[in-house]
Amino acid sequence: ISFRCMGCSTEEMGLFLDFNPFDNLLCILLGISFTVWFTLLLVFIIVPAIFGVSFGIRQLYMKTLLKIFEWATHRIERGEPTSLEEEIKEIRRSGSNRDLDHASEFEMSDIFYFCRQGVESIMDDEVTKRFSAEELESWNLLTRSNYNFQHISLRLTVLWGLGVVIRYGFLLPLRVTLAFTGVGLLVVLTSIIGFLPNGRMKNFLSEQVHLMCYRICVRALTAIITYHDSENKPKNGGICVANHTSPIDVIILASDGCYAMVGQIHGGLMGVIQKSMVKACPHIWFERSEVKDRHLVAKRLSDHVEDKTKLPILIFPEGTCINNTSVMMFKKGSFEIGSTVYPVAIKYDPRFGDAFWNSSQFGMVNYLLRMMSSWAIVCSVWYLPPMTREEGEDAVQFANRVKAAIARQGGLVDLLWDGGLKRGKVKDTFKEEQQKLYSKMLVGTQEDRSRS
């Protein structure tokens, strides 16, 4: 016993002399957990991203989440959705309340048609609801997607609390680390590649680097993407057009193929990224002043497209972020250039997290934080067969044809309205068209009467 005590006391004395035993323990624990953390990160996420393989962890995660959501579903009762178009067609069929016995060209009740249309649009119109996030039928445990969040039941609230802890305590730091890694690697590696002489080696390396970094970013958002019809992927010398929901669209498309980006040069971190990207392969960045000059823009785009060694251009013709329930008017600029257009449809699954960026509500950083603290971003990408402008078709008709194809594939509503209505006013020409249509009804009847 005395022998053991001596041993103990010497140890204790030794320890007391150096430092507090708990500090030491804490350091060791931290060190171990950090190493484990980083190794896991490396093995399960970064290495597969580099080689483009997947363990299927995210698919499993998605299935588990879906089961939990079904359990927690809180169904909002909905009757038959009234379609604005159906109601207007019905009123038109019954005429503007013309009493056929009298056959006069104007009835005081004509006003009912405009009246009802107007009040319907006050209650709910097709356009303004495209600019706010889609309403969900079941709740996915994110307060931001439940407009009537109230205390429903204790179990649900506990589940929600657990969800918050997991999302903000575990997922968010993981994703932020990955994001920094991905972006950092992109900047560093593309700058290095910029020193190489132009040639096949440089292009090959640049493609690999871009793909790798985008794949890391994809994992940083826990984006689970399904690509369909990859045989239609855009080729060099073409223009890839897609519907726009958020800035993440770029990452989603660029992690599966190499594109030349088009955009305005920003300052700050974005600017640094843009400048280093362009060292490795030719992207098209415009100064703010050049953006207004449509001819300059068109010229640079067509120059790029003619050079067959350069990558296909990626363009979002809607011009602004739409909430992914419809496709709005495509601006015709990219369709005037005259090269092959490769349409791509992107549809997000809103059950896991709403990817729509309402730029009037959140800034970019706020938006990215929201994305990274969602459960996951699940989306489908369809590569549609290439289209070219046909004989006798002008740019606007071509643009509408492409838009219809994208809307049909993605299951989105095809709208003629301009995405610019998010910020600006509607043009008067639309009102004039309505007036013209109504006038024809009045004057047309008069002609019939004079004939008979």
């Binding site: 006069s104 005081m108 249309q117 649009s121 209650m123 931001r144 439940n146 969040f149 639309f430 009102k431």
Partner: protein, 195 residues
Amino acid sequence: MGSRASTLLREEEIEEIKKETGFSHSQITRLYSRFTSLDKGENGTLSREDFQRIPELAINPLGDRIINAFFPEGEDQVNFRGFMRTLAHFRPIEDNEKNKDPTASEPLNSRSNKLLFAFRLYDLDRDDKISRDELLQVLRMMVGVNISDEQLGSIADRTIQEADQNGDNSISFNEFIKVLEKVDVEQKMSIRFLH
């Protein structure tokens, strides 16, 4: 965004609006979130500009007249109660309401009130009469520049001739009702809401 809607509309208010307009609870909350999404200034009232921001309303030839119907005489702001009161005119008439207690005040969506809404769209100066001038102005709004003044004038004259019974060259509300007695107002001036 969503939490604003549920905290600012109290249960008592919803009950009052229910009694006054006949909308259901879910319809009222839904319209309230619509009201707040239109209210860009976030001050609990809508101005004419808030309405004009709706593109489908802005291109409606009678858009301005419809917007005007929401604002009482001389006022520039409408609150949620006023908004609902005007929208109530377009609530469909349900069968069980047709045989209601005759001593109760007329519901906002009765046939007569629907016709009154339409009448007020024509009656620009709110003097309870549609003069030839007012009719011309409204017609001009509906047809734009596509019909000449003379043609439009003759249309207006013909309409007033057919409707006017007491010879004062303008249409009163009773004459208006008579002209439209065959029209299915209940159906044409009703909007099916989302449940």
